[in-house]
């Protein structure tokens, strides 16, 4: 996936590109039109001058020599005119020229008309020229103005886009924000802001029905787990009671008793898994709502005492360092959490190993000796035991994580120098 783009920017971008293109194309077009108007106007003007000059000179009724003198004077004195006598008429010529002008002391552009006038019977060739704005300066000026307007336009676009588009999309962002707060586990839909816009109203309606159906199937699945576990309790109870009865039989020999003992163990394991499934379902069900101030240290000491037999049985060396820590939580859940961590340590520590429990300000660490690091990515998943050789329920750490998630605590695992460390940050 590439870089994320915002919807508003996406709609703005082609608009900007288009405006830019139009304005850039407008620069030469403006220039051509202005230039055409200029030249057209000047040519008309030059022809008018030519007509006036010819008529006025003719009307004077001067002899040819006097006309010749006057034209010589005009040639010298009148700016923008030059005259010369010519023998035969030639077609007019219109052109534009850029040259250095000694009077202006600069490069200048001129529009010129070369034509003939006839006074009495003599033919004169006349050059009329008018200074006009240079082509490059015109283009520059137009470009400058255009760029100024481009800037104005872009700024306007961005401003209006921010302002109006944001307002138009406001319901969408509102829906997005509400949707982010939606949690399947909470069992509740979130209310989406109402909108008068058809599309947004449709979107909200679809999202609401999506949330409803997700919640319904989630609830169903949860109830299924819970009901299935409940249903299993009774047959399990029957099997257990039948085993207890079987044990009373006088005719059992040692081997048969051994078999009974093994069935007991299997049944215990089924009960354990079932119990934990039920527990997990209930935690997800957001039961265990009430919270109170729990003294973790006291609870831990009491729990560890219950494990004494287990420590002794597995020749485990247990040590603890406990500081007073109070946590606002559900006492049942935190007890389950602590029990699971201890059970985990007892179950997976090799005989003769060490278990250390450390409770200090804000965190609990349960450490136990082990042989090799466990696969962390599987550690807290259901039925994904990180090592294959033991018979846990496969749910203990999943439950632990579920409890931590619920209160926003962080559970972590690391392995260092042959010791597993499970830690919970409250």
């Amino acid at each position: 996936m590439g870089r994320m783009k915002k919807l508003l920017d996406q709609s703005l971008r082609p608009l900007i590109v288009y405006a830019l293109a139009v304005l850039l194309i407008s620069i030469p077009v403006y220039f051509l039109i202005i230039d055409w108007i200029w030249e057209n106007e000047l040519d008309k003007h030059h022809y008018a001058i030519r007509e006036k000059l010819e008529k006025r000179l003719t009307r004077l009724n001067l002899p040819d020599t006097a006309v010749g003198d006057m034209i010589a004077v005009l040639d010298k004195v009148q700016p923008g005119f030059s005259f010369s006598e010519t023998a035969a008429p030639r077609p007019d010529s219109l052109y534009t020229i850029i040259r250095f002008d000694t009077f202006m002391n600069d490069r200048e552009q001129f529009r010129c008309l070369v034509t003939d006038i006839r006074v009495n019977s003599r033919l004169y060739r006349v050059l009329i020229e008018t200074n006009m704005e240079e082509i490059d300066e015109t283009i520059l000026a137009i470009a400058a103005v255009t760029v100024f307007f481009i800037m104005l336009l872009l700024a306007g676009f961005i401003y209006l886009n921010r302002k109006t588009a944001l307002r138009i999309w406001q319901p969408f962002y509102g829906t997005l924000t509400s949707l982010r707060a939606f949690r399947l586990e909470s069992g509740r839909t979130v209310s989406l802001p109402p909108s008068q816009v058809t599309e947004f109203a449709d979107l909200n309606a679809s999202l609401e029905s999506l949330m409803d159906s997700s919640l319904a199937s989630y609830r169903q699945q949860r109830e299924f787990t819970e009901n299935a576990s409940h249903e299993l309790q009774t047959p399990l109870a029957i099997v257990k009671s039948k085993l207890d009865m079987l044990l009373q039989s006088q005719s059992l020999d040692a081997a048969q008793l051994q078999t009974v003992e093994e069935v007991y163990q299997a049944i215990n394991r089924v009960s354990r898994i079932n119990k934990n499934l039920l527990l997990l379902a209930r935690i997800e069900h957001a039961q265990f709502e009430g919270t109170e101030q729990v003294a973790l240290g006291d609870m831990l000491v009491a729990l560890a005492a219950q494990f004494e037999d287990r420590f002794e049985n597995n020749s485990l060396h247990y040590s603890q360092s406990i500081e007073a820590l109070y946590v606002q939580t559900n006492p049942m859940l935190v007890e389950i959490l602590l029990t699971n961590l201890l059970v985990n340590a007892v179950r997976y520590t090799p005989a003769g190993g060490k278990i250390d429990v450390r409770l200090d300000v804000g965190s609990l660490t349960v450490s136990n000796t082990g042989t090799e690091a466990l696969q962390e990515q599987n550690l807290f998943k259901r039925f994904a035991q990180a090592s294959g050789q033991h018979a846990g329920s496969g749910l203990g750490l999943a439950i632990t994580r579920e409890i931590c998630d619920r209160y926003g605590w962080q559970i972590g695992y690391r392995f260092a120098d042959g010791v597993h460390h499970f830690s919970v940050r409250f």
């Binding site: 409940h230 009774t234 109870a237 207890d244 044990l247 009373q248 354990r272 119990k275 209930r282 037999d309």
Partner: protein, 224 residues
């Protein structure tokens, strides 16, 4: 001693009945809510085992009726709903005990024994068996008048055995009784052996006969 077993699962009801009958209890059965209601209204029992989910109604109603009428029958709820809230609710409604399914029959027998003793003998409560005497109030054990000092767990074990006289008890039942909720988290119950051994040794040293038998290393039996 009369026991009423209110349980809709015939297999389970029958196991319970058979196990308890051998303990000199007289067992009656009710397989649904209406039957249970009728029996409870007509007869008195020393202890009623009450399943909560019954065909035809909620077992809780029966408990509430009993309490409303001021009946003195002991009540132990046996339910598949093993969570804390249900236990609290049951005990609040006046049940003497709450046992979650699946349970071991010896555990049930021990609880019935304890409920009946509490109800029948009040606080002046002691058990005598041959040369052994257990004072339940002061929690002291004497053999031929000599005090035997037992740990809390050993005393627990002793009472459990007495409540299951002449029955073979599986090691896992003892483990569950001794370590409660955490017992079913483990498969290995060897620690039971150490406690039983200590108990036997202490009683033996005080001069008590060898009534506690090991059955092929997988179970125990208290003969009395």
């Amino acid at each position: 001693m009369k026991i009423l077993i209110i349980e809709d699962e015939p297999g389970l009801a029958q196991s319970i009945g058979t196990y308890l009958s051998a303990q000199d209890y007289l067992c009656e059965y009710a397989g649904n809510w209406a039957q249970a209601r009728e029996k409870v209204e007509l007869y008195r029992y020393d202890c009623i085992l009450l399943d909560l989910m019954l065909p035809g109604g909620d077992g809780m109603d029966i408990l509430e009726t009993l309490k409303k009428q001021g009946q003195q029958d002991g009540v132990i709820i046996i339910s598949a709903k093993g969570d804390y809230e249900h236990k609290i609710r049951g005990l609040h409604a006046g049940a003497d005990d709450y046992l979650a399914k699946p349970f071991h029959l010896p555990e049930l027998a021990a609880r019935i024994y304890s409920v009946i003793r509490r109800r029948s003998f009040g606080n002046h409560n002691s058990i005598t068996q041959n040369e052994l005497k257990v004072d339940l109030l002061s929690k002291t054990v004497t053999v031929n008048g000599l005090i035997v000092v037992l740990t809390k767990k050993e005393l627990d074990l002793l009472l459990f055995f007495i409540g299951n006289k002449n029955r073979v008890i599986a090691k896992s039942a003892l483990a569950e009784h001794l370590s409660g909720d955490i017992a079913d988290m483990f498969d290995n119950h060897d620690f039971v052996y150490a406690h039983v051994k200590n108990l036997k040794k202490k009683l033996g040293e005080a001069g008590y006969g060898n009534y506690l038998k090991t059955v092929y290393g997988t179970g125990y039996k208290w003969e009395g």
